[in-house]
């Protein structure tokens, strides 16, 4: 260890933003699969009014999720050193998944 301070090397952003963007993409794919299964369950259940409402909620939640993901993906793509995920967005994402599970329970039950 030398006493003089070494110059701080410029940080290589590497592929971190891109990897994070792809992780968001994979997550939207997973949510799409869940939404498709919700539609299939509704159609097989005879398409009663309550089922259709639950299915519509599932699709609305899925669209909300896509919107959050799209927003985050654009933020990640805009800058080589993107800001951290805002807790508000993390919470919104998780709440949409919880809402999806609640609608799923209503459809299955």
């Amino acid at each position: 260890m030398s006493a003089e301070t070494a110059p701080v090397p410029a940080r290589d952003p590497g592929l971190q933003p891109e990897r994070t963007r792809l992780a968001w993409r994979r997550t939207t794919l997973s949510s799409t699969v869940a939404a498709v299964l919700a539609v299939k369950t509704t159609l097989n259940g005879g398409a009663e009014p309550a089922g259709i409402i639950a299915c519509a909620l599932c699709i609305a939640v899925w669209l909300g999720f896509l919107r959050i993901a799209h927003h985050r993906i654009r933020t990640l793509a805009a800058s080589p050193e993107p800001p951290a995920l805002a807790p508000r967005h993390a919470t919104a994402t998780v709440l949409s998944i919880v809402a999806l599970a609640v609608c799923a329970a209503a459809l299955v039950f």
């Binding site: 940080r11 952003p13 590497g14 971190q16 933003p17 990897r19 994070t20 992780a23 968001w24 994979r26 997550t27 997973s30 949510s31 699969v33 869940a34 299964l37 919700a38 299939k40 369950t41 097989n44 050193e81 993107p82 800001p83 951290a84 995920l85 805002a86 807790p87 508000r88 993390a90 919470t91 994402t93 998780v94 998944i97 919880v98 999806l100 599970a101 609640v102 799923a104 329970a105 459809l107 299955v108 039950f109």
Partner: protein, 130 residues
């Protein structure tokens, strides 16, 4: 429990996270975010599994089918709530320069998934005989 309530408040009030400590290297934040997303995918897979049990095991008795499906859906909800909680705790620990929080949730989840898988095997075998 009080710690959990405080964490829940952090989910909704991001400014409080920013008040703690100093901003970590953004690459660590992004890695934390990817871990969070991986847990969300696990939660979504569990929810998809709940739908799949309901849709693709039609020969099962109603109680078993709905019970298994609801168990998987509940696991998905738990998994996603825990994901955001763990994300907030990691983010705060990084800002304060503390050790990352440890968790027994991964072990718990793997035990639950193993039990559900065994239950599925038994139920499918019994269902075919009956």
């Amino acid at each position: 429990m009080i710690g959990f309530v405080r964490n829940v408040r952090l989910w909704f009030v991001p400014e409080q996270v920013r008040k703690d400590g100093s901003t970590p290297d953004y690459r660590f934040s992004l890695a934390n975010e990817r871990t969070f997303l991986a847990w969300l995918r696990t939660a979504l897979a569990l929810i998809g599994g709940g739908f799949a049990v309901d849709q693709f095991l039609p020969d099962l008795r109603w109680g078993w089918r709905v019970g298994l499906a609801l168990a998987l859906l509940a696991a998905g909800v738990l998994c996603s709530l825990r994901a955001v909680n763990h994300w907030v705790r990691c983010e705060r620990a990084m800002r304060r320069g503390e050790d990352l929080p440890v968790s027994r949730f991964p072990a718990l989840l793997s035990v639950v998934v193993a039990v559900v898988a065994l239950a599925m095997v038994v139920v499918v075998l019994v269902g075919w005989e009956g």
